[in-house]
Structures are given as structure tokens and as C-alpha cells.
């Protein structure tokens, strides 16, 4: 029983990182229809930058993490507000944007591999973050607790922003009809900035977590992207809240599966279930929710 509870707690911490990623990808895809694989570059940038600063300067770890977060956000904003619009001005859409995003992701991630090498790099956690909360047999570290809090807070902030602020309402207007939104004078550039800055936070935070936990590698961010984008599509486009919940659940399920199958198979089972859902429940869950609301 204790083991199961512990796995659920650890899974919730891992799932909170997936939830952050899913939330960000769902937000970006719903708003601008960008298949933003370069989100993985934002995550890698945050983690690797924090590592490089912590490793090469005398700055405290917290400062290195803060700089990593800012640089991760800046990269995401640059891609979202400079690269994609430049391509869109040339008439690009869909797969062209995706391929450019893929190229940007590959170039940025391997630029860091070139600097720090291909082995995982890790920052020593500040003592405060590695303290354990709970009993000796069941508990999580402060870092894991922070990850869970961040995921919940990020979801609530996005909900509040979209429903209760002017910029949020403009984003929703743009989402439902981009042409009409531009026609009535909504500043698209500002919406891009807000969307990519906020999603940059959501992509960078997992990078900072991973660099303090297992260490960041070139392949890790790609897996986060794949899980995040699958949660986005399984939840149904536009259902960002559900995509975050599914993201969180994936972590818990992945850990609970450890009770039944060897560790190396857990992710394959999760991907397999996602694949079945994507193939046989193509509309995701949002349409069903919408239909039941309509009824």
C-alpha cells in the first residue's frame, strides 16, 4: 500500500512536468495552429543554460536557474514571434512551419550538446529543494512538491488569463476567428508575444526540474514534446485544461505500471494507449464534452 502511494506521489511529480508541457503545446496549437516542436528547444535551453551558468560562474544556483528560465522563454518567444511569422509572410503553413520548427529545435538542442557534450548534465540541487516532505516511507522532495504546485498554478493562471483579462479574451477571439480578430484591430503581434512568453515559461520549467533531477540530455526534451503533443490531441484541440490533466495522469499511470511491468516498458505502454486513442477516438474528448453540454 505504501509503495503504491509512493508511486502515485512520484508519478504526480513526473506528471506535473508533462502537464506543463501539454498545457503549453495545447495553448500554442489552439491559438496559432503551430505544431511547435521547438518547445523542446525552449526546455533544453533553460536546462542547459542554467547548467552552464552554475558550472562556469560563481553565481548561486537559484540565479543560474532564473537566468535559464529567462533564456528559455526568450528562445521560445523568438521562434514564435520572429521565425514563424517570417515564414507565414511567405505563405507557409502547416508542415512547412512544423519542419522549420523541427530544424530550429535540432539546431538549438545540438548547439548545447556541442558546448557541454552528449552525456547528461546535472546541477546539484540546493539543500532546501532536496529536503523530503512526508514520512520516511511515503513522501516527496520539496522540488517535486514545487513541480506539482507549478503545474496547478500554471493551469489556474491560464484559465484566469483567458477568461478574465482583456488579453485573454482577445486570444480566445483570435482562436475562434483569426481573420475577424485582425479585422477588428486586435494586435496579433502582442497576442503572439503573450502566448509564446507564457508557453515559454511552461516549457522552461520542466527543463530546470530535469537539470536538477536526473540531468538533461539531447533526447529528453523530445520525449516531453511527444508526450505533450499526444496529450493535446487526445484531449481534443482547444481543451487545454483536459490536456494538462491527461499530462498529469500519464506520469501517475507510468509509475503505477511499475507495479506490473519492468520500467523500460512503461513509456511504450503509455504511447501504445495514446496511439490507440489517436487512431480510434480521433476527435479526442473535447467534442464529446461539447456534445453533452449542448444536449
Amino acid at each position: 500500500m505504501n509503495l503504491t502511494l509512493q508511486l502515485i506521489l512520484s508519478g504526480a511529480a513526473a506528471g506535473s512536468l508533462y502537464a506543463l508541457f501539454s498545457l503549453g503545446l495545447s495553448f500554442v496549437y489552439t491559438t496559432f495552429k503551430h505544431f511547435h516542436i521547438a518547445a523542446a528547444a525552449s526546455m533544453a535551453t533553460a536546462g542547459y543554460t542554467a547548467y552552464i551558468i552554475a558550472d562556469t560562474t560563481d553565481l548561486p544556483v537559484t540565479m543560474a536557474l532564473a537566468i535559464g528560465l529567462v533564456v528559455g522563454i526568450v528562445i521560445n518567444v523568438l521562434i514564435g514571434t520572429q521565425l514563424y511569422p517570417a515564414l507565414e509572410k511567405r505563405g507557409a503553413e502547416g508542415f512547412v512551419i512544423f519542419l522549420a520548427s523541427l530544424g530550429a529545435m535540432t539546431a538549438i538542442v545540438y548547439l548545447f550538446v556541442l558546448i557541454v557534450g552528449s552525456s547528461p548534465v546535472r546541477i546539484e540541487q540546493p539543500a532546501m529543494l532536496s529536503q523530503r516532505l512526508g514520512t520516511s516511507s511515503i513522501g516527496i522532495t520539496v522540488l517535486q512538491g514545487l513541480a506539482i504546485i507549478c503545474a496547478i498554478a500554471a493551469t489556474l493562471i491560464l484559465r484566469y488569463t483567458l477568461t478574465s483579462t482583456q488579453v485573454g479574451k482577445r486570444i480566445l477571439a483570435y482562436t475562434s476567428s483569426p481573420n475577424f480578430a485582425e479585422l477588428i484591430g486586435i494586435n496579433t503581434n502582442r497576442l503572439r508575444l503573450v502566448t509564446y512568453a507564457y508557453s515559454g515559461v511552461l516549457f522552461s520549467l520542466p527543463g530546470l526540474y530535469v537539470v536538477m533531477d536526473t540531468g538533461i540530455t539531447s533526447l529528453g526534451p523530445e520525449n516531453y514534446f511527444v508526450i505533450g503533443i499526444m496529450c493535446t490531441f487526445v484531449a481534443g484541440l482547444g481543451n487545454w485544461l483536459l490536456s494538462a490533466i491527461i499530462g498529469g495522469s500519464v506520469g501517475v499511470i507510468q509509475y503505477i505500471l511499475l507495479l506490473i511491468v519492468p520500467a523500460q516498458w512503461t513509456l511504450a505502454i503509455v504511447f501504445g494507449v495514446f496511439l490507440l486513442l489517436l487512431t480510434f477516438k480521433t476527435e479526442g474528448f473535447s467534442l464529446k464534452a461539447f456534445r453533452s453540454r449542448s444536449a
Binding site: G103, F233, T279
Partner: protein, 296 residues
């Protein structure tokens, strides 16, 4: 000379792979990120059948082609139900499931250690033990594969494929066999990828999961996009450019641990630059010519 033969062999393998992916992307509009998985199925199929099962190399190649063809059919299942970005997402899942199987099924694949001692044909008429002979063999395989694929996309049947690619609803309204077309092309694409995988296993004489990851899929897509996804010769030329590039880096005496990331960084920049300068790739293909001929 051995160095050049080795380059020719590798370029040929990736040319087959790139051309096989262009069948899916350029001619059917199925954008797959799981092509490295099919490549891997072919390589493992050959390695397992010739080492564990001790079968003859020719039989090993047949098994590799068959296994990857079946893999292609499995990929066709989601392609029959979803299109566009939905299939793209599904293909990511397929690629990562394949990675886990290559990594995790140790009793069959050897896990991260891989399968060493993969044989080439060393006796009888076909002697592939020297680099020169192997280079010729791989180049011949690429030319024959390319020719077969070129013939396939230059038949009147390709008009059906291109109609499905451009507008699936329209193709359905014209009564075009969408499901059959997707199955046929996925099967063919998988079979050729498996063939490339088998030759790759022979080339390295070793198979490990590191060669069939998502980054490999990205490299193959870069080849296809660079050359032009709608042109079979274009896809082959894309493969030549991208595969020869690391060899050029070696000529510059860049250490191997640096050359790998440099190559990936430049591939990334290539992709971004192509999307700006020539999103259709170097070669546009000849869809329109075939269409006009059929409509006459």
C-alpha cells in the same frame, strides 16, 4: 579507395531510405516521423535471422523486407483513420514505441548492447567482404530500388495517389480507392526501408538501437525535404548531400564527438533555410506532366 567505397555504400543505403519515405510524404501526403522505426525493423530482421536463426543472408534480406513491409502496414492502420497532423502525432508514438522495443526486448534485440557479428555474404558467387564489393552492391541496390520506385510513381496509378494527397475528400468523391492506396504505398515504403535496413546491418556488421532513433527519422526527413519530396531522384540527391556531409567533416579533422553535434546543428539550419528559400526542395517532381498525360 576503401574510404570512398564506404561512403558510396552509406549514401546508397540512405538514398533507398530517403526515396522510400518520399513515396509516403511526397506522393501520398502521409507525413511520417516513424521511418527510422521501419529502417530498424529491417536491420534487426536481417541481424536476428542471420545470427540467432543462422539463416542465409539472402533469406535474411527477404525476412527484413517482409518484416518492415508488415511494419509499414501497421503504420497504415492509423493512416486509414487520421490525416495530417493527427497522423504526424501518431507516427511520433510509433517511433518511440519502436525505440522502446529495440532497447527493451533484450532477449531478441540484445538491448542497448545490440547484435554484433552480423554477416555479409562471404561465399558463393556474391562476395561482399571487401569494401569495394560492398560499395558496388549497395549502389546497385539503390539504383534498382530507385528505378522501381520511379516506375511506380510514373504509372497512371500515381494520379490517384496525388489526388488523395492533395484532397482526400475529392478523391473519395471520385471513387478513388483510398484505403487500398494507403495500404499499398505504406507496404512498399516499409519494404524498401526494410531493404535499406538489411543492407545497413550488413554494412556495419552490427545493429544497435542508437541508429534507429527519432534523430534518424529527422535526418531522413531532412534528406527528403532537401531534395524535394515529390521527386524520387531529388530524394536520392538529398540523401547524397546529407550523408556525404559527415564525411566532409571528417576530412576537416574534426573529432567525432564534435562532428556529430556539428552535423545535427547544420541539419537544423538546413531545414530552416530550406523552408525559407525553397520549401518544395531542390526538385519539384513531375506530378503535373503525369496528370496531363493521363487526362489526354
Amino acid at each position: 579507395m576503401d574510404y570512398l567505397a564506404s561512403l558510396v555504400a552509406l549514401v546508397s543505403i540512405y538514398a533507398i531510405l530517403s526515396m522510400s519515405l518520399s513515396l509516403l510524404i511526397g506522393h501520398l501526403g502521409i507525413f511520417s516521423m516513424a521511418h527510422a522505426a521501419l529502417f530498424g525493423i529491417g536491420a534487426y530482421g536481417y541481424a536476428i535471422s542471420t545470427t540467432t536463426a543462422q539463416l542465409a543472408p539472402l533469406l535474411g534480406i527477404a525476412i527484413a523486407v517482409l518484416a518492415a513491409g508488415i511494419g509499414g502496414l501497421l503504420i497504415a492502420i492509423p493512416a486509414l483513420r487520421v490525416q495530417g497532423v493527427y497522423f504526424l502525432v501518431a507516427s511520433f508514438a510509433i517511433q518511440l514505441i519502436a525505440n522502446t522495443v529495440f532497447d527493451g526486448w533484450e532477449s531478441l534485440t540484445g538491448g542497448v548492447r545490440g547484435i554484433p557479428g552480423v554477416p555479409r555474404s562471404g561465399d558463393g558467387i556474391v562476395q561482399l567482404l571487401t569494401p569495394g564489393a560492398f560499395g558496388l552492391y549497395a549502389a546497385g541496390a539503390a539504383v534498382i530500388s530507385g528505378f522501381l520506385m520511379y516506375l511506380f510513381i510514373n504509372t497512371p496509378y500515381s494520379v490517384t495517389l496525388h489526388m488523395i494527397r492533395d484532397d482526400e475528400h475529392l478523391a473519395r468523391s471520385f471513387g478513388k480507392p483510398i484505403a487500398r492506396s494507403k495500404i499499398v504505398v505504406s507496404l512498399l515504403s516499409g519494404a524498401f526501408a526494410g531493404f535499406a535496413g538489411a543492407i545497413y546491418a550488413q554494412y556495419l556488421m552490427y545493429v544497435s538501437p542508437a541508429n534507429f532513433q527519432l534523430t534518424t527519422s529527422i535526418s531522413i526527413i531532412t534528406m527528403v525535404v532537401l531534395g524535394g519530396s515529390r521527386s524520387i531522384p531529388g530524394a536520392a540527391i538529398g540523401a547524397i548531400v546529407i550523408t556525404a556531409f559527415p564525411f566532409a567533416l571528417q576530412e576537416l579533422d574534426i573529432p567525432s564527438d564534435v562532428a556529430g553535434p556539428v552535423q545535427q546543428v547544420l541539419f537544423g539550419f538546413f531545414l530552416v533555410a530550406i523552408m525559407f528559400l525553397r520549401p518544395e526542395g531542390m526538385f519539384k517532381g513531375n506530378d503535373l506532366r503525369i496528370y496531363k498525360e493521363v487526362m489526354k
